[in-house]
Subunit: 645 residues, 2 copies
């Protein structure tokens, strides 16, 4: 049952060139639509005005219409009187000039000298010909070009077209995109999937993206791993669409029929591009219809969508692809990247001390949350081995730069209250946002040292004093002027599966042969707490099965226990309650936020404090269980650094 | 019939402050929708995952699933054999790990040692536990926050929500915006409006704009100038909408009932803002529904839309208003601005010699084409008297900076072929664009001198030599290294109304008392030609009625003649034919493009030349009548400037 691995490693630019040259041969279809429905559409040909605007000589002001020559000689000292409806005519802005009139006098310059003669008005200066008159074609002259070909129609273009007498026009038809999800393991989203069933979500992301890019998506039912069925659906889809996207089935796996079918029905141009994620992309043609086979992993699929599908749809509509802003930022980490591919890295970006700092998000192509959490993306070229800490990298932003400037960065230990804080900050509507990445308490301290974060979330127990956090700041960051603010006390304990069949009751039980543990990563406060307790109790970590298996936050530990891949883990009560596992309390610990004094004095921090001290925030956090926020917002400690006089 | 003028002059920022404080009191309505329809909508509350993703331990690779401990000890020199379906199980990416398995070995690392034993495989290194396994919650852990409140949902958010088991969610309802066009002079767009009837186009611009800003528009039928009817419609609209926009009727004119009705039904917060255009805006409340009265002129209306309606709709949806890029540019002109208002100036922007140059467009608030042609807008603060030539001004871009960098700027005389050139350039799809502004031939020469244009369109007759353009370049631009390229020969003559009842046959007839002329602006090649001919024939310009009335292009002159506001004008045959007026030929003239040698050698110019020399361009231009393009694209002259050795 050996399988041939036949992915090529075509460079991205080469793959695109090959694809565009075939995929863009067909001219786009046209349709005629009403002007009032035309916003957002693309003109198929130049549009010339049919009417002038205005199409008659119109008053540009409210006032009286006159013949200019009748007003000559009027001055302040020798005003002129005119009879209404003989030589002067009331007129509103936009009104038609009466025959023989060629000027308008503003109503503010019209006087009524004699109450007994209501039809007599007085003027005190002459009107030059064409004063306050919008002459024919002042805005648009009939036959003038209003819009060129291939112009995306904006709201005010609609107004100008109507003013020019254009009520219908030819536009490019929206490209029709067929979405075909494939794979026997896929099911349409249902409430309670069985293990082994994967919810088919990619096609819905595709559909939304394709819609944003001006095309119309049609999702086909899921095609199981069945060669004939795939062939049938592909034939139908390619005959009715301008582009076909096949979701999953693009790699070289056991049941990946896609390439075989495409080779039979048309031509496979490229299979395998030197990019990561997204390598196993297929670019093909069936007749004149381009086909893209996208990988099944959501991040890989989305990158292929952005790099191949987005530009193609823009080109089909005769537009330049949308461009995001590029923001040069300092990389906060070392990233090693393969010389085999160009790598697209999702990043969190924050502005700390006037410096934009980019922190890579998880690189796994299955982590769809890395797209959700990303502020932007950078590409590491194929011939580059990676990125050094502090190196300037160009970040293509997925948010605006001002959103990033208004984002509070919190690196350090994970706590569920940070999500609640983020949510409350958004609800407050000051425009501030909170971006937290979970790098453990020690990671937070390093980030403060390197000026990469505004806040560090810490729960570091000093084994000697039993005090939290302060001694760590004194030891590791003596040069910084810092403030330590209390956020929450939280209950720490062992999480075990519902029912606790293994009867785990205390830390000592972790050393039992029948108990499999799941640990937190090195540098996490929870792990430091565990090691401290093990030493206190003279227990040997090498006796614990699973001590080496690391998860990166409380919820993941609870999830591992809930799913039975571990029998016990250490974490906070709120995570245990969220995932429905049992909790054996061990201690209360302090979770605190360390920050530079300069940040403490900023508007952003004031907005944050307002929330931290609010009842609604405290209630939301305490509701999760195992939290005590009585002291939240209190300053626990302030560093003794001498400020320059 | 005196009228009270009671517009206030409230500063823009103050007016906004007053308006927001009342208009944003009501919390937005919510609705529950399906996740697959949610892209572009705004979350009403934080969304927490209901399922983990993956929700079971899944293979991350195609290969075989094993229990890690069964593989320990395997090396290249002492490989290990495992029986399929006993201790090794074929598995596809995403597949469920069989019971007791905790690792996956990639198919590339699986060997088949003995063809006779197809169920025996060989491995040459051990698999650590959890190798190539996506453990439960690797992407999303159930109960984790996927999106915070007030988050605009992007395509990949849809995928993440589905992966987290969220199939329905609460979003903010789209704000409902009522559009009420008012004015007895307005009619719905019809093919052949009578003089005095104005096509109601503004509400369609509003509708498209409001849709782009995330709201839903409902257009009401046109309300005539009738107090009771307006009251009735306003009551209905305000009770059913989150915002009411009243088009026109916001100034202080004779029949402007809007303010009266609003004062009766609710509260007028501001009437009159210190901005131009857009001064007569009304900001009001009817109950909890904000109401904006917009001026009738399209440019004024659009500026009010951008400055008041756009931010309000974003705030209602708990979003920050969209921000355009700000591009510092050199003003090419002096602009005087009133100290009474903040002025919003539409601009053309081009990049010439690495310098962004902004040229103001016509300031009239009735010129909807100034919106269509604008590349951006700048605001001149209320306390600033204007802008000096060369001054750096911040331009808020309506296009991307790269579109502007790809735009060829042509300042100078107007010719209809420039529009055709623009259209053909767009169709070519190189991404280049042409932006022409009509400042007359002499204006074009000055623009070349000041490095504000790539091309200058010229048709300047040398009265001594009878030659076109060259002597002007030699005289005025001796220091520049220039190239003069022929574009077209065109026929110049007198335009007279169809039928020519005044029997105008030659230039001398312009001096007749019964003939009203319309002229071109000073510096226009056509005007220079006229003056030359008048001198040749010893005619006195002061004898010509209308010599002082200036239009800025051929089409406007033809339109004035067609409409009967002038009996004769001077211009090109194509304009006469376009507007259906009679044409009395006088001469053929050369219309040429002068450009710096550096521009001539650019890619942009090559793209332009490709079109200028194409048959399809020549055909399109000659079809207009009065054009001869046999020589187009020929280099007529090159300046003799000595290049530095």
């Amino acid at each position: 049952m050996e399988r041939k691995i036949y992915l090529s490693n075509t460079p991205l630019s080469k793959a695109r060139e090959i694809f565009w040259s075939k995929a863009l041969k067909k001219e786009p279809d046209l349709e005629e639509i009403g002007t009032t429905e035309a916003a957002g559409r693309v003109t198929a040909e130049a549009v010339f005005a049919r009417l002038s605007s205005p199409h008659y000589h119109a008053a540009a002001m409210d006032g009286i219409a006159v013949k200019a020559s009748h007003t000559f000689g009027a001055t302040a000292t020798s005003p002129l009187r005119l009879n209404l409806d003989e030589k002067a005519f009331y007129i509103d802005t936009g009104g038609l000039l009466p025959p023989d009139c060629d000027a308008v006098i503003m109503i503010e310059d019209v006087f009524y000298p004699d109450k007994a003669k209501p039809l007599e008005i007085e003027i005190r200066e002459p009107a030059p010909p064409w004063q306050h008159v919008r002459s024919i074609g002042e805005d648009i002259v009939a036959t003038e070009m209003i819009l060129p070909s291939y112009h995306r129609i904006r709201p005010f273009d609609v107004g100008a077209l109507l003013n020019g007498g254009i009520f219908k026009l030819k536009v490019l038809k929206k490209p029709r995109v067929a979405l075909i999800p494939t794979g026997s393991e896929l099911i349409d989203p249902i409430k309670n999937p069985e293990p082994g069933q994967i919810l088919e979500s990619n096609s819905f992301t595709f559909s939304a993206a394709v819609g944003e890019w001006g095309a119309e998506a049609k999702r086909f039912p899921i095609v199981k791993d069945d060669l004939e069925q795939l062939e049938e659906v592909l034939l139908e889809a390619s005959s009715k669409s301008d582009l076909v996207l096949i979701s999953a089935g693009s790699s070289a796996g056991r049941k990946d029929f896609t390439v075989k079918v495409l080779e039979k029905l048309g031509e496979v141009l490229v299979h395998g591009v030197a990019m990561r994620p997204g390598k196993p992309v297929i670019l093909a043609m069936i007749g004149s219809t381009p086909v893209v086979g996208l990988p099944g992993y959501p991040v890989a699929a989305y990158m292929v969508l952005e790099l191949f599908v987005m530009p193609l749809l823009y080109y089909m509509q005769k537009q330049r692809p949308a461009e995001n802003q590029i923001l040069p930022s300092h990389s906060s980490r070392r990233v090693l990247s393969s010389l085999k591919e160009e790598e697209y890295l999702r990043l969190k970006v924050g502005k700390v001390n006037d410096k934009f700092v980019a922190t890579p998000l998880p690189r796994g192509s299955g982590v769809s949350m890395s797209l959700v959490r990303a502020d932007g993306v950078t590409s590491i070229p194929q011939d580059k081995e990676g990125v050094e800490p502090g190196e300037m990298i160009p970040v293509e932003l997925w948010r605006t730069a001002s959103e990033i400037e208004n984002t509070i960065v919190c690196l350090g230990s994970h706590d569920l209250s940070l999500d609640i804080l983020f949510d409350h900050l958004k609800r407050k509507g000051h425009g501030y946002s909170l971006s937290s990445a979970h790098v453990g308490s020690m990671g937070g301290i390093l980030a403060l040292k390197r000026e990469e974060t505004h806040l560090a979330g810490l729960h570091l127990l000093d084994e000697e004093t039993g005090q939290y956090n302060i001694s760590y700041l004194e030891r590791y960051l003596p040069e910084l002027e810092l403030i330590l603010m209390h956020l929450a006390k939280r209950e720490l304990g062992l999480m075990v599966k519902e029912g606790n069949h293994l009867r785990i009751t205390r830390l000592e039980d972790l050393c039992r042969k029948d108990v499999v543990f799941v640990n937190r990563q090195k540098g996490a406060g929870t792990r430091i707490f565990l090691d401290f307790m093990l030493r206190e109790k003279d227990l040997d970590s090498s006796a614990i099965t699973g001590y080496e298996r690391e998860e990166f936050n409380h919820l993941s530990v609870a999830a591992a226990v809930a799913a039975g891949s571990a029998d016990a883990g250490l974490g906070i009560r709120a995570a245990a309650e969220a995932l429905g596992v049992e909790f054996i309390p061990l201690a209360w610990e302090s979770y605190e936020l360390a920050m530079p004094v300069s940040f403490y004095n900023s508007d952003r921090c004031r907005a944050l404090l307002e929330i931290i001290k609010s009842d609604s925030f405290r209630d939301s956090v305490e509701k999760m269980g195992g939290y005590d926020l009585k002291q939240s917002g209190e300053i626990i400690w302030r560093s003794q650094t001498k400020v320059q006089p």
